[in-house]
């Protein structure tokens, strides 16, 4: 174990922290713009959550949170179909899924601001490695 490894680990930690924040803020800014422009009827808000223990993989960031949570601010209960739709569109974006997995996320969670139900997916299943 060399001193260089320690330095690399420290740099890696800061880089990962910055990249995770970039993904969350990038998503939130785009969501707000889309709502303001009238492209979507609902504001989506991304945040980091604890994640689901059974979905862990080698990149999972257990300390800072491994859940990528999307909250739909609609003011009313969204149907399950809408919630599943939002999740499936995110999962269909291969680049986004790869980036989320590599940044330590293992769970995608989608819910709305009314009621306490939501859906979650294991990101690792949607990596499409080799396809």
């Amino acid at each position: 174990m060399s001193v260089l490894n320690i330095w690399v680990k420290i740099l890696e930690w800061f880089q990962e922290k910055r990249s995770r924040t970039a993904v969350i803020t990038g998503f939130n800014i785009s969501a707000k713009e889309a709502f303001v422009n009238g492209d979507v009827p609902v504001i989506l808000e991304a945040s980091i959550s604890k994640g689901y223990r059974e979905y862990r993989h080698q990149f999972s960031n257990i300390i800072s949170g491994s859940g990528f949570r999307i909250k739909a601010h609609s003011g009313m209960q969204l149907s399950k179909k809408n919630i599943v739709n939002i999740g499936e569109v995110v999962l269909a974006n291969e680049r986004l899924v790869r980036r989320l997995v590599v940044l330590g996320f293992d769970t995608l969670e989608v819910h709305c601001d009314v009621g306490n139900h939501g859906c979650r997916w294991q990101l690792h299943d949607y990596l499409m490695i080799g396809e």
């Binding site: 945040s47 980091i48 959550s49 604890k50 689901y52 800072s64 949170g65 949570r69 599943v84 999740g87 969670e109 819910h111 306490n116 139900h117 939501g118 859906c119 979650r120 997916w121 294991q122 299943d125 949607y126």
Partner: protein, 220 residues
């Protein structure tokens, strides 16, 4: 940043989209081999008027059915089922969606072998299953209307078997939960042990540093 989990999430299972890449092939209505992700999608494809150009009556009927399908949405299950029944009777269309699954389900529920293995052995039940299984074999596997009629007729017989299966599943779930709890307890014990070890070493280091500083200050 990490939120508390006060929301009940449903775990969505991973599945590949059934709609294959070569969905846009030019197979005519009634020819099987393709799979559809909904009954509505199948009806839309198979009831197109262009599929019945050779028969004027069917062409007109298909026109009516197709225009009615475009007015309703795929969420209106009852109306879609009605359209399906009309399409099968009037146009002779063969519906693939759910037919295979329904046939498989009836085969499983009515197979005499299933009832032969049950304890205690019920000869009357096995004989009844044999009769119904023979009736299933005599039907057209690809005619969903006939399969649904049979299912309606044998519903009381199937319900008994379904209740038994539900009981078995519940018992299995209970056993799995018990095992999970045991594993959780084991894991908790392990975590406690590792915590204790970490505290022990932390205290050792701390004492070591204190002794070192005391020595440095020439107190010891």
């Amino acid at each position: 940043m990490v939120e508390e989990d006060d929301i009940r999430f449903e775990n969505m299972m991973y599945f590949k989209n059934i709609l294959r890449e070569d969905d846009s092939s030019t197979e005519s209505a009634g020819v099987g081999g393709k799979e559809y992700d909904s009954l509505y999608a199948e009806l839309i494809e198979k009831c197109k008027p262009s599929n019945f150009l050779s028969n004027q009556n069917k062409f007109n009927m298909a026109n009516d059915i197709y225009s009615q399908l475009l007015k309703i949405s795929d969420r209106e299950e009852k109306q879609v089922l009605e359209m399906r029944n009309v399409a099968i009777k009037e146009l002779g269309v063969r519906i693939v969606f759910n037919t295979k699954e329904l046939y498989g389900y009836l085969e499983e529920m009515l197979s005499p072998r299933t009832y032969e293995r049950l304890q205690p052995y019920d000869a009357e039940r096995v004989r009844q299953a044999g009769k119904l299984y023979f009736r299933l074999q005599s039907l057209n596997k690809q005619n969903i209307l006939e399969l649904e009629q049979l299912k309606a007729d044998v519903q009381p017989f199937i319900e008994i078997r379904e209740a038994e299966l539900r009981r078995e599943q519940e018992e299995q779930r209970r056993r799995q939960e018990e095992e999970k709890q045991k594993q959780k307890l084991k894991q908790q014990e392990k975590d406690k042990d590792t915590e204790n070890v970490m505290i022990f070493f932390a205290v050792l280091i701390f004492i070591g540093i204190i002794i070192a500083s005391l020595v440095a200050h020439k107190i010891i």
